[in-house]
Amino acid sequence: MTAPQISPPAACATAPSAVAVEASCRLPVLFFAFSSATWLLFGAVLALLSSIQVYQPAFMEGCPWVTYGRLRPAAVNSLVYGFALQASFGLALWLIARLGRVELTSPLGLFIAGKFWNLAVTVGVIGILAGDATGFDLLEFPLYAALPLFASYACIGAWALITLKARTERTLYVSLWFVLASLLWFPWILSSAQGLLLGWRVPGVVQAIVAGWFGNNLLQVVLIGMALAVMFYFVPKVVGRPLHSQSLAQNGFWLLLLIGGWTGLSQLSAVPAWIPAVSGAANVLLVVPVIVLIYNLYRTADGEIAEAWKRSGVFRFVTVAAFLLLLVTLRNAVFGIGSGARYTQFTYFAGARTDIMVLGVFGLSALGALHYIVPRLTVAQDELPSDGLVDLAFWASIVGLISLAIGYSLAGLTQGAVGATADRNFLGEAVTGVAGHLKLVTFGYGAIGVGALAFLVNFALALRRCCVACCGGVR
């Protein structure tokens, strides 16, 4: 298997031209890119506001719509459904069209389905703020938002798969394995979890187990899968070399799918002990596929890393994302089983896994990829109009993530230490004592918001330039 750009041109006589492929992507992909970045900004702002409330309880007090218990899930669900999944759709469509050398089926339909998706997410977020959250982590949208969400996904996913089926480049590159797995995995877990929770209403703690299983699969397979698709596309592309090893990629891919669905249930305590134990073992095992996959990328880029880092914006994003993936996987392996899990259970440390995965591993990959895709689809150039804003988006996101990860981790470890000894003062040490660390978290969300804003402004500049070019000037 070779890297995408080396596959022979016009492998098939009917292959559409690159221009035609891009033209078909323009409307839906740019739409998904723009609205996902908007949700990223919005979600980061909500997360920032709610993070202030945990040390300044009087902040925005007195109105149930913005109390912490509603604002925080609204933020997380905006980030996951508004930003992460929506960005995934854009990336998936673009990768399928690009790697499959095929025009998107029904760009207009995709655009309309995307509109409905956004509408459903908006309704869901308002529903949470109004007090209709279901109470299940990452599944908080009430049924009246979850059903339209599923329906619009059904259209998006179906059109994506139809496009994939119609591809003219028959070779399926590694990235497309991940895209395909993510596209299928998401409706399977969503329908299964919603069916059991909101439809059948499984009894008692089984609900919490099902919700945990869903949330973990969403993060560990769907979003991490999309992040890996991006990494496997851009790393060989930027360094201009074929992928180091096809068989390593294959092993890594299957192991990730096999193990990924089992991890991440160590937050459950009032359940039979085998559940967190099995899940903890999976947390450890998952290190294998992640190392295999990242080693493969590393070998592909080895020797060119410094040069590619300087030259390419997307490479920087993707490299940091890959590094974060390794880090968060090791972190889960150490703190996802046994006494490590017990120590960090119920703390910000464990909770930060969602933030690091959504905003870090996935978020950085996606932002990087969008910085590559958007200028090509708008101004037909390699870079967005403002270099300064590209740098700002990168550094703000990185600084934001580091602050977030450090802030949450330190706060969590402090909480863990207090929780492990009964004679330490809970209120003084585990609540007011972590305010300093949580201020770092607030700063982190702010920086991530700035990064998203920088990207959006750059995006808008590109769109404007595009309009000027097409319509001969707006004035």
Binding site: P64, L172, L180, L184, S192, V202, G204, Q250, G419, A422
Partner: protein
């Protein structure tokens, strides 16, 4: 790997494995879990929530209290102990005081042997019996049997290489009641001791030690288990402890709150309810450093028209009363309904020997 359908099939199988293990298996194991009946009562645990508390669960979900509060008490170890509450009296019990002295000093010789068998570390001393008594025809056979048992015990000890203390003896142990015969041991050893002591005519009971920081902190008498949640839907376990665990708030002792307090009157239930209402109204009034958000919007400043919400609440630091709305009362009823002081087969607790119990008395409807 160039066939989409093949990858799709592989993905489906991978997901099916994790689904079978982490969704179906728990459902099979826990799906038919039902409340357990509490021994010697007609009650079950968890009991069906009274209507007001059930409405409170919805308020708890709607306001997202589970974002900061878990309802899962953890424990590190479950150990057992034996408490002797009565020495009993049977054929081997002898009054060591002379019949005409008017005093009694009953010694249950079988129990002494049983104690020695339960506690291999303690010594056992022969009991000094006044000569007059030793000659009694009722007493002599008992003493003889005791001597034989002591000899057997000695032989057994020698074989098992047990070295008994010479300073501490079971005789002293049996002197004060109630007494912890065994502390923090395994279930088998404890059950054997209970049986030995009861067979010897004494009255012994099993003591259960639920250990761990959560329990020491007073957050619950035992760990939370799946059965505690069979009546909940949605199940709000929580995953972050930005605030204390609430799994057992309904029977929490005042000094075990994050901001410790004391009962001022004897009407414990109503005082607890007042306290929680004030906490809801503004947590900073009871815990100045609290970051628990205030739910002032659940209170009216003017007396509402509805008759049921008429009772007022006096808030510290303010001379104007506020009126808890229905949702506030429901939420408090729900919080008071949170309890773990009832033992379950899979999570036992020592039978309550009289710690102050606060009945969960929901507010008047």
């Amino acid at each position: 790997m160039n066939h989409g359908p093949l990858i799709a099939a592989g993905a489906f199988v991978s997901l099916a494995f994790s689904w079978a293990a982490l969704v179906m298996a728990p459902q099979v194991q826990l799906g038919s879990l039902a409340p357990a009946s509490i021994p010697n009562t007609s009650d079950v645990h968890p009991a069906n929530r009274p209507g007001l508390a059930a409405q409170g669960a919805e308020v708890y979900r709607s306001l997202g209290c589970y974002q900061c509060h878990t309802r899962q008490v953890r424990q590190d170890a479950l150990l057992y102990g034996v408490r002797l509450v009565d020495r009993g009296s049977n054929a081997s019990t002898i009054n060591l005081e002379l019949p005409d002295s008017g005093r009694t000093n009953l010694v249950n010789f079988n129990l002494l042997i049983a104690l020695a068998k339960s506690r291999a570390d303690l010594g056992i001393t022969p009991v000094a019996v006044p000569a007059v008594l030793a000659a009694d025809t009722n007493v002599a056979p008992v003493l003889k049997e005791f001597a034989t048992e002591l000899k057997l015990l000695k032989q057994f000890d020698d074989k098992a290489q047990v070295v008994r203390s010479t300073s501490k003896t079971v005789n002293e142990l049996a002197a004060a009641l109630p007494v912890e015969v065994l502390e923090r041991t395994g279930p088998d050893e404890a059950e054997r001791a209970v049986k030995l002591l009861n067979d010897a005519g004494g009255k012994a009971e099993l003591v259960i030690y639920n250990l761990g920081p959560d329990i020491e902190r007073g957050w619950g008498a035992r760990r939370s288990v799946a059965r505690d949640f069979v009546n909940d839907s949605p199940v709000l376990l929580g995953s972050l402890r930005a605030g204390p665990d609430l799994a057992c708030l309904g029977s929490r002792a005042p000094e075990k709150f994050a901001a410790a307090w004391k009962f001022a009157s004897t009407n414990l239930a109503s005082e607890m309810e007042q306290r929680l209402l004030i906490h809801l109204y503004n947590p900073r009034l009871v815990a100045p450093a609290s970051t628990c958000p205030s739910a002032k919007y659940l209170f009216a400043t003017k007396q509402p028209d509805q008759r049921f919400a008429g009772e007022s609440l006096q808030v510290p630091g303010s001379d104007k009363p506020v009126y808890p709305r229905h949702d506030a009362r429901a939420l408090v009823a729900y919080l008071l309904d949170q309890r773990l002081d009832v033992g379950l087969p899979e999570a036992p607790v020592t039978k309550p020997s009289g710690p102050a119990k606060i009945a969960a008395a929901p507010a008047k409807p």
